[in-house]
Symmetry: C2
Subunit: 179 residues, 2 copies
């Protein structure tokens, strides 16, 4: 199945507004509690999304276009966001994510990628050869993996409060594949 | 831990806008594809949320207040939404969900529930005795279970497109506990 870049951009465009509508000014019970030691809370997840906008998706896309397979991407630092967010509020992070995403999608659109561009290959430091198409599809799916995680981390805070309904709520059975 | 009704209402208030921001006018690749036979697509999930607003949460809360443990709730029909949505667009469903949720939260606030009300008990047809507190907490967690499901169903559509990144995306490892 051919990757439809329009579909990818449609989703990437909506994620910041969706997270904003869900999270802004929500009580901290929901946004500053995690699932236990060494797990992320919602604040951490938004921060990680920001870090991806800065260091992962568009920088790697440009590397594919400029350098192809010759040089591997910089490894993505999954804890790299921790240094950046100190002293910020969740509202500030949501603003920052929306702004960076908008800039990045502006750059992506300006590239006017054609199908043959999407087939170009780069080198992932662990996965080996990947296409630009796969990279951009992953950008969108990565938004969804973290929306999935946020809903799970938030639901975890009500694990006791729901009483006997816990067995009916699928999200409470999720073991947490997306840290 | 005491159930904080304000926290529950805060989340319940935000879900319709979050789903609207995520889903409205999104290409049908994302919203009208499911995970395989007898699974729901995103349209079905929003429809199910509407059905819950009509027949589950507030009707049951009123039953607890009016009838207590004397009479079991009507069983919730998990496929009851199918009859209601025919011929509607996803945009119409999102509007309907937002409107019903707003009305229901208005009714909930008007009840001015105190802690002793939250401790009142009703009878679930399968789970037995449940408290009003547990019912209202479940309403919020149920939003999250379906946000979790929507993100998983949508990500499934990009399972092939992400290529070798699929192993890194937690949402693609989720077996789907929340149908």
């Amino acid at each position: 199945m051919e990757h439809n870049l329009h579909h990818t951009i449609s989703l990437l465009t909506r994620t910041p507004a969706a997270l904003d509508a869900l999270l802004r000014d929500l009580p901290e019970t929901w946004t500053f509690r995690n699932e236990g030691e060494n797990t992320w809370n919602t604040f951490d997840v938004v921060d990680h999304l920001i870090h991806g906008e800065r260091t992962d998706w568009m920088p790697r896309a440009k590397m594919v276009l400029q350098l192809g397979e010759t040089q591997p991407f910089e490894p993505f630092d999954r804890w790299g966001h921790v240094r950046e967010s100190q002293g910020k509020s969740l509202g500030q992070l949501l603003d920052e994510f929306a702004s960076l995403r908008s800039t990045n999608l502006g750059e992506l659109r300006a590239l006017n990628l054609r199908q043959q561009d999407l087939d170009l290959r780069g080198r992932h430091p662990a996965l080996g050869l990947v296409t630009l198409s796969e990279l951009l599809a992953t950008w969108a799916a990565h938004d969804l993996t973290h929306l999935h995680q946020i809903s799970r981390v938030m639901a975890h805070q009500y694990r006791e409060a729901v009483g006997p309904w816990s067995g009916y709520l699928g999200v409470l059975q999720c073991a947490g594949h997306s840290s």
